[in-house]
Amino acid sequence: MAEVEGGGCELFSAGHRACAGCGPALAARLILKATGKNVIVVAATGCMEVFSTPYPETAWGVPWIHSLFENPAAVASGIEAALKKQGRNEKVVCICGDGSTLDIGMLCISGAFERGHDITYICYDNEAYMNTGIQRSGATPYGASTTTSPAGSCSLGNPRPKKDMPAILAAHGAPYVATASIAYPNDFVQKVERAINTPGPCYIQVHTPCCTGWGFESGETLAMAKLAIDTGLWVNYEMVNGVVEKAKKVRRKPVEEYLAKQKRFRHLFKPSRRDDVIAQIQAIADTNAERFGIDIKRKESSE
């Protein structure tokens, strides 16, 4: 049975202005289920910040601060230091989009993780700069069409694979790094709980499909997230002190099933099939499967 914190009062209230079916909005609710009230949230400029805090309507029932697009990790470093000096124990949690985290915020997140601040950084990954109208970020997958990496007569869409941010932060010595998905909400909540209770800088990248940006029906958000995992294009795993543990295993589906359902990949099917690009995307999924060991092995018949 689902329980809500604070005696029935949601810490992330309704009335926010996210699109119907918004993945990140669900992620925000789940994060606060994990943290409870004793948290200070540091936000980046982006969808979640904009849809939740048009003055004076805030959806946040916990202390929350937004400064700039690229500096939540630095702001969080300062908050953590102040709390330490004041002898307070609120958890400091950054909640930032993929653009903020993988691109413009690299400087601050690298510094914060290198210095080892006791913070948790959660990147909600909808794979593009969604708030500004669906532009390409370092998290945009290979072959996706965005407004700044559009499919065209001489372009297949985004020509680069996703930046491997979990590996980068594990390399900074982060004690706990995880990927998660809103398709598995309880798993995500548990990972947030683990991260906030692990001393040092911890990172979670949570996959939060965006119906508006990816081009699918609002009710399909969780189904899309699950399909990403089932195809191997998204892997749910944990890294403890840099070593991968516990990757979620799947009976893998071909990537085409995932790509065919989203307008951002429509150019791979219409006006004509781009089997070459689909094959390249399949190769990415295959590499993920190999790297993380996600394929459920069929039983070998004994001879």
Binding site: M1, A2, G15, L26, R29, Y55, T58, L222
Partner: protein, 86 residues
């Protein structure tokens, strides 16, 4: 109401914004099919699915945007989306 220094606000005002007005489709819950798993309440992006006294669930139509995630996720298919008559 006077501005608060620094563009700061206390919690609560978001609920003044009744996002139920956005809806095109509305969810219809069928409690007799409900297995009380609570997934609908867990996955609603608005957090506006609440538990009834019987342990089943119902949407808060003041805020429900009609996205349909609850209907899609329900393992018993006890929620359906209907075009709302205005």
């Amino acid at each position: 109401m006077a501005l608060r220094v620094g563009c700061v606000a206390a919690p609560g005002r978001a609920t003044e914004n009744k996002t139920g007005a956005w809806r095109v489709f509305k969810p219809v819950f069928e409690p007799e099919k409900c297995s009380r798993c609570g997934m609908c309440a867990m996955v609603c992006p608005e957090g506006c699915v609440r538990e009834t006294e019987e342990g089943t669930f119902e949407p808060d139509l003041d805020y429900c945007k009609g996205c349909g995630i609850c209907a899609e996720i329900c393992p018993k298919k006890s929620i359906r989306m209907e075009k709302e008559e205005k």
